[in-house]
Symmetry: C2
Subunit: 325 residues, 2 copies
């Protein structure tokens, strides 16, 4: 089959072996798949992954239990062992033995076929297009925040970063009725949110108000520094960014600096946040709460995957999608 | 009066002006005061404070309302404005207009006299000695953790750091009945905890188990790195350390590195933690739950304050106390 795989660098092959489904798994023909920052970070060395990249996808089940065959699906990316202490507590996303589609020990979605446990699959309603469905995984990750922090109309919330994830997170947070400000560096990206009546401002603009909750989607260590500056005492910061370069610890003069004393003195709570509920993400696409078409920069055929990856890695580019059909 | 004050460097004076109490304040004759890591960090530049250092003290009220005069007291160190939004919500410790004894805008305890609002004072029971009372403030700071995280017999807890604060925090956490391990670098300090039947281990010893809660009292940025390594997925880290050097942000190869991606992937919650309840601290000294005499390295007369400060700054030294009587 055709596949974009990573082995020291991203490579394209027409003859990558088609995956074989294990017990409980479905074989899925991929229709479309989105390139995520995590894919780009893997290429930079964020995870020691080798194999087919990609974890944001929509596809059709070709092999598996009868009830699934022919169904158009998206799939949760964590494949837990279902036996360990974490799995027994319903925390499969944190199973230490887990595989993660296109990220950890399991070939991903930038290919004609992938396999996933049928337990991971969600059937799509016809009202959600393939291009929309590619965004289910990152929208679910945005909804994860609402499982971790209680947010309502009395809360002043800042979403930091106007990249792909920031634009989704801002739309999800807007749904809580909170007093929301999206803060970014790109007027043309913030405009996507402004059209949805979300208040936006550029990072260096005032007023310098304090927020109850800051959500860092910048993908850069500078985001946490900004969040620590903007959050009120006893406020919360949700960290969604993962990046290849570890934040260094100790430094002489100069350089970027992260003042963690501020976190202690202001008794700030910092929460790491990862994967979330697919069901809510699909519903948000169905009812129009989250709008994604303006976030698609370009759709490439799978053959052009290397070119697509190059574009996706460029600053200012939003979602680049691969089409396998 | 006699005072140890900080102006570019620590200085001792016999003629420092005696403070005048403002409305609502008491004038307190200081009996003893402890040197805290925060004092040492201020001298290193952690805060832009100038004036009399010191905030851990026991004293006798000489001026103030009749009911207070002659009473032996300890005092909470935050002096909030009592008018702002934070104060109205009962969050005076985070009042943006606050003064903090010996730390922010208010002369501290390494002197013959200090002033504090009478609302900040706690009368000491006779069963608590002066030397014990010097530890009320840091013990209260340890109890703050129990206001922030729910901990009980089912929780595996690690206290990182066997300095002054770590040894107090470990004793406070032991009182929750949790499955506690104190981790440090100094066998002779850990021995103080072992005598209280607290499980201890050296930092490089195994087994490499994971903890539900890690409390960083190391006073070093390395503590957070260790905590991120030891905490289980979806576990919590409480950060008690403040230090002068900001943690740097971005780095090439080599050097100390803080991998915040781990915090995101494992959805760890990091909580900053500062001042706590004096009442519980006094009770813990009364009922023997927290034992402090083994933590006193040396008591100096106030005249020897510079020498005392030198000793307190040395590695391996625990609490150094100044005596004003």
């Amino acid at each position: 089959m055709r596949a974009l795989f990573f082995h020291k660098k991203p490579k394209y092959s027409r003859d990558y072996p088609t995956p074989k489904r294990a017990e409980g798994e479905a074989l899925i023909r991929v229709l479309q798949a989105g390139i995520c920052n995590t894919d780009i970070e893997i290429v930079k060395g964020y995870m020691p992954f080798q194999g087919v990249l990609g974890h944001e996808f929509v596809g059709v089940v070709e092999e598996g239990d009868k009830t699934w065959i022919g169904k158009r699906v998206v799939g949760e990316i964590n494949c837990p062992c279902r036996r360990c202490e974490y799995c027994r507590q319903g925390l499969g996303n944190h199973c230490p033995n887990r595989k993660v589609l296109g990220i950890l020990g399991k070939d991903g979605a930038f290919a004609d076929y992938l396999t996933l446990p049928m337990a991971n699959l969600h059937e799509l309603p016809t009202s959600v297009s393939n291009l929309q469905a590619v965004f289910v995984e990152p929208i679910a990750s945005a909804f994860r925040i609402l499982e971790q922090v209680d947010t309502g109309p009395n809360d002043k919330v800042a979403v930091l970063g106007d990249g792909k994830l920031g634009l989704l997170v801002a739309q999800v947070m807007a749904g809580t009725g909170c007093e929301l400000t999206a803060i970014g560096r790109h007027p043309e990206k913030l405009e996507i949110l402004a059209r949805k009546k979300i208040k936006t401002r550029l990072v260096h603009e005032g007023p310098h108000q304090k927020f109850d909750l800051c959500i860092d989607c910048t993908g850069s260590p500078k985001g946490l520094e900004l969040a620590l500056d903007l959050v009120r005492p006893m406020g919360k910061i949700v960290l969604k960014s993962t990046f290849a370069s570890p934040v260094p610890h100790w430094f002489g003069a100069g350089g970027e600096r992260l003042n963690l004393s501020q976190l202690v003195v202001n008794e700030v709570v910092l929460l790491g946040s990862r994967c979330g509920p697919f069901k809510r993400a699909i519903e948000a696409l169905q009812d129009g709460a989250v709008e994604v078409t303006a976030l698609v920069t370009k759709v490439y055929n799978l053959e052009e995957a290397i070119k697509a990856f190059g574009l996706a890695s460029r600053k200012g580019v939003l979602k680049v999608v691969l089409d396998m059909t």
